[in-house]
């Protein structure tokens, strides 16, 4: 997107379509992933993101579109390079470690040249912090260790592309944050291009260089975590990623009325949706008056539910200071809201 045009493309997916019988799971997968980046595909369950990953790996065949890995065309209507010849490394959600092999045997499984094997296995085990684990049995390991074995096994053959399917979902929530950081570090040190699929926005935003938001078989937006969060391109992206107040309204002469005043609407738009993050609203004496109706207390902060005089309900992220229910408050925006075209359920055209 906003990278230099000279950067090498590791993956180029162009209009991939995947159908199972009468069901279209991937309607249009179009993606560019730059060599060396950690890229996340984020979306709700059932949006087709795992299928997207399986298309890249070669476990599924697209019914239309073209897929290029580095400079090699690997999938097109008349081309299908099988997974074993794509040079990919895959980390499965359930890790799929071979239970009849030791850790070392698992990692060595994909390393082709027998002469290089021993050294390469040791190298990857060190990289993943598993040196000394080579002779351990797979089922003796903890969940986090198993995940690192899966990662080491995938990295050992020096893949051109690493694919990770929900790699953290089988881990304890308390372990996840730490393992996420470790994973990013390992992948970066290995220098591999990596694509991660997840339904957890925190995961995608916190470790990826860029994020693609997927909805019902289509990529709706690609951008840095910051862009995705601050400037959602579609209503689905705004609603799925982070917390959002969404006001629907009609534009009138290039402008739209919001509870906080008039803002410019996208050109030619009729129905629009105004996206306001709760943290972009503040309590300010000179703001729009309202009444506090409920609150969710989180300790480090809280979300206040405020009914404005006009009737709109607004959620506001505020500091932990206590406000009694029924308190009269006044709200104002810190920044101009994102205004999106609201065309029913189809993808919204970007603005903002």
């Amino acid at each position: 997107m906003n990278r230099s045009p000279t950067a090498e493309r590791a993956v180029r997916a162009d209009g991939l379509v995947c159908t199972f019988g009468a069901t279209t799971v991937i309607a249009d997968l179009t993606l560019d992933v730059i060599a060396g980046e950690l890229f996340a595909i984020l979306g709700p369950s059932g949006c087709g993101k795992t299928t997207a990953l399986r298309l890249l790996a070669g476990f599924e065949r697209p019914s239309a579109g073209r897929l290029t890995l580095l400079r090699d065309l690997v999938a097109a209507p008349s081309v299908h390079v099988p997974p074993e010849r794509r040079g990919i490394g895959m980390v499965f959600q359930d890790y799929a470690l071979f239970p009849h092999m030791s850790v070392g045997e698992n990692v060595a499984y994909g390393v082709p040249v027998p002469g290089d094997r021993r050294g390469r296995v040791a190298e990857v085990l060190t990289l993943t912090g598993l040196s000394g684990f080579a002779d351990r049995r797979v089922h003796e390991l903890s969940g986090g260790e198993q995940q690192r074995v899966a990662l080491a096994r995938a990295l050992a053959p020096r893949p051109r592309l690493l694919l990770l399917d929900e790699p953290f979902s089988n881990l304890d929530p308390t372990l996840r944050a730490r393992v996420r950081g470790e994973l990013r570090e390992i992948v970066k040190r290995a220098g591999t291009t990596a694509i991660l699929v997840t339904h957890d926005q925190e995961e995608a935003l916190s470790i990826a260089d860029r994020v693609a938001f997927m909805w019902r078989g289509r990529i709706e937006q690609v951008g840095t975590p910051d862009e995705i969060y601050r400037l959602p391109a579609t209503i689905h992206a705004a609603e799925f990623i982070g917390d959002a107040n969404l006001f629907r309204a009609r534009a009138d002469g290039g402008c739209v009325a919001t509870p906080f005043g008039e803002y410019p609407a996208p050109a030619g738009a009729d129905r629009v949706a105004i996206v306001v993050r709760p943290e972009d609203v503040e309590l300010r004496p000179d703001g729009v008056p309202g009444r506090l109706v409920a609150r969710e207390y989180y300790g480090h902060d809280q979300v206040l539910h405020v009914r404005l005089v006009g009737g709109a309900l607004v959620r506001v992220r505020a500091g932990p200071r206590l406000h009694a229910q029924g308190t009269e408050v006044a709200l104002a925006l810190r920044a101009a809201p994102v205004v999106l075209v609201d065309d029913g359920d189809a993808e919204g055209a970007g603005a903002g």
Partner: protein, 533 residues
């Protein structure tokens, strides 16, 4: 905040077809399975008038009813033994229940005709009891042959099939449900009847189906006990007349009867779900039997005495007597070798044939082709050994090089026992997650290498257990062996049979005991390989 869309239904784990080799092998197996029933139809249609006359005869109707009542009685009696036995072993503090669980499954190693032989040798006309009583002037004992004798023998040597399906089901039933029921104030018995028994229904039905089909198709047991079941009448007709169309029609009728029983089981099982929600934390607390442990032990002891001690004891007695009086016991080792060779060959061929069928059914279950192949592979389940053997004999008479060869015999075994091998191969393949195979492919291995380096090692134990089961069943098999064995090929089973049919008990004892011993070893291999790691 977030409105989730309805998740798109993502079907079957893998798209893309099966490898052509796998599909071709599976298709070959399916065609082979279809051959016997089709051949019988063709043969019966040779002379439709004769076939119709046989089928519509009043005696055929009576025979059918008699056989159905027989199968029903055996199934019911076996359930009456297996259900309490399974519960005692799995759920109570019965002393020695682990050992009892193993001993109670051992009668599976005793073929029904060996069991019948032991009963006749002990309680029959010239049996041990009569000999012991003859000084007292007892010349005749009440006959143990006929319907009740046949029912007793078949029950005692088939109930372990039900025990095998019931025990895991009882062990898997969630004890929390029972605790819940008791907390509502229902007693143990009400809880068992209303909650545990319904959960056991699928296991009960599938075990009962096995026993009903076994009884229907068993030839040796009923024949020795002089009960005119379908198989005995069919065999006599085959042996004594040249009316091959009539025999084919009768064989077809027997196959149809078996299919009716299978259909009945499918229909009663219905569409209800019995999935056990797995992962309950702790096994149920054993029910304390208290003073009831004595009647319980007496029941277990009675069953084991009749099903295990009596046959082995009687055979041992006759063997000792034969050794003492110097009766020649020729060539049991040759027969044992023939038996083991044929059974091992059958186990190998059947397991190899089962693998492509199981791969299709586990990995490509959405395909019509897979389902068709699986259904066809299960036809052997419903076809009595006698029927398959007759079909193969009728067919092979026209193919000189195949007639009376070991290959034909092994083919019959494979057709008959393929369902057992497919069943175990399916279970073991299900344990190999598709993601493991995909991980291996992602790591640069071609499908064939993935199969040999991941799929086979991970399912090897299950396949071995299946092979041991086929081996065991082949060791015991009688009618197909009698009809199809090549000249000079005499297995333990045929040797026992020929000695028994004219009451030469001493001569039968050594091969019978050898047969039981080898079968018990196969049973041990099966349990060891089938055990969880």
């Amino acid at each position: 905040m977030t409105t989730l869309p309805l998740p798109l239904r993502v079907p079957s784990p893998r798209r893309g077809g099966p490898a052509p080799l796998v599909a071709a092998l599976a298709a070959l197996v399916a065609v082979a399975c279809l051959a016997p029933p089709v051949y019988l139809l063709v043969r019966a249609a040779d002379d439709p008038a004769a076939a119709a006359e046989v089928l519509l005869a009043r005696s055929t109707l009576e025979l059918t009813l008699r056989t159905l009542v027989f199968a029903g009685a055996v199934t019911f009696a076996a359930a009456a033994i297996a259900l309490p036995l399974a519960w005692l072993v799995e759920r109570t503090d019965l002393p020695g229940r682990r050992a009892i669980g193993i001993l109670a499954s051992l009668p599976l190693a005793v073929p029904s005709y060996v069991g019948a032989l032991a009963f006749l040798a002990a309680l029959g006309p010239r049996g041990l009891l009569q000999q012991a009583l003859s000084p007292l002037g007892v010349e005749r004992l009440p006959a143990i042959t006929g319907f009740w004798g046949a029912t007793l023998v078949l029950t005692l040597f088939t109930y372990p099939y039900l025990l095998m399906t019931l025990r895991p089901a009882l062990a898997a039933a969630d004890p929390r449900l029972e605790e819940l029921s008791r907390s509502f104030g229902f007693g143990r018995w009400t809880t068992f009847r209303r909650l545990v028994l319904p959960q056991l229904r699928p296991a009960l039905l599938s075990g009962a189906l096995l026993i009903a089909l076994y009884t229907l198709s068993d030839f040796g047991g009923p024949t020795l006990m002089r009960f005119d079941s379908f198989t005995r009448v069919l065999f006599l007709r085959y042996e004594s007349t040249f009316d091959r169309s009539g025999a084919a029609a009768l064989a077809g009728a027997l196959a149809a009867l078996a299919l009716v029983i299978v259909a009945l089981e499918v229909w009663t099982r219905g569409r209800r779900r019995y999935d056990v929600v797995r992962g309950h934390a702790r096994p149920p607390a054993p029910v304390p039997l208290g003073r009831w442990r004595w009647p319980a032990l007496a029941f277990v002891g009675g069953v084991l005495a009749l099903a295990l001690v009596l046959p082995v004891g009687v055979l041992g007695y006759w063997l000792a007597r034969a050794a003492a009086s110097g009766i020649a016991l020729p060539g049991v080792w040759v027969a044992a070798l023939d038996s083991v060779a044929a059974s091992a060959l059958a186990a190998l061929v059947t397991t190899l044939a089962a693998v492509p069928v199981a791969v299709l059914s586990v990995r490509f279950r959405d395909r019509l082709f897979s389902r068709a192949v699986e259904v066809l592979a299960y036809t052997g389940y419903a076809l009595p050994g006698l029927v398959v053997a007759l079909a193969l004999v009728f067919a092979a008479i026209n193919v000189g090089w195949l007639y009376q060869t070991l290959a034909l015999l092994v083919l019959a075994y494979a057709l008959l026992f393929l369902p057992q091998a497919v069943g175990t191969a399916r279970v073991s393949l299900l344990q190999v997650r598709p993601s493991m195979e995909e991980a291996a492919r992602g790591l640069g291995r071609r499908p064939r290498e993935v199969f040999t380096s991941v799929t086979v090692p991970l399912s090897a134990r299950g396949l071995l257990a299946g092979a041991a089961l086929v081996f065991l069943t082949t060791m015991k098999e009688l009618p197909a062996t009698l009809i199809l064995a090549p000249p000079g090929f005499r297995t333990l089973a045929t040797r026992v049979w020929s000695a028994t049919s004219d009451a030469r008990f001493a001569e039968a004892s050594l091969p019978a005991l050898t047969l039981i011993t080898i079968s018990a070893l196969a049973l041990a291999v099966m349990h060891y390989a089938g055990a969880r790691r």
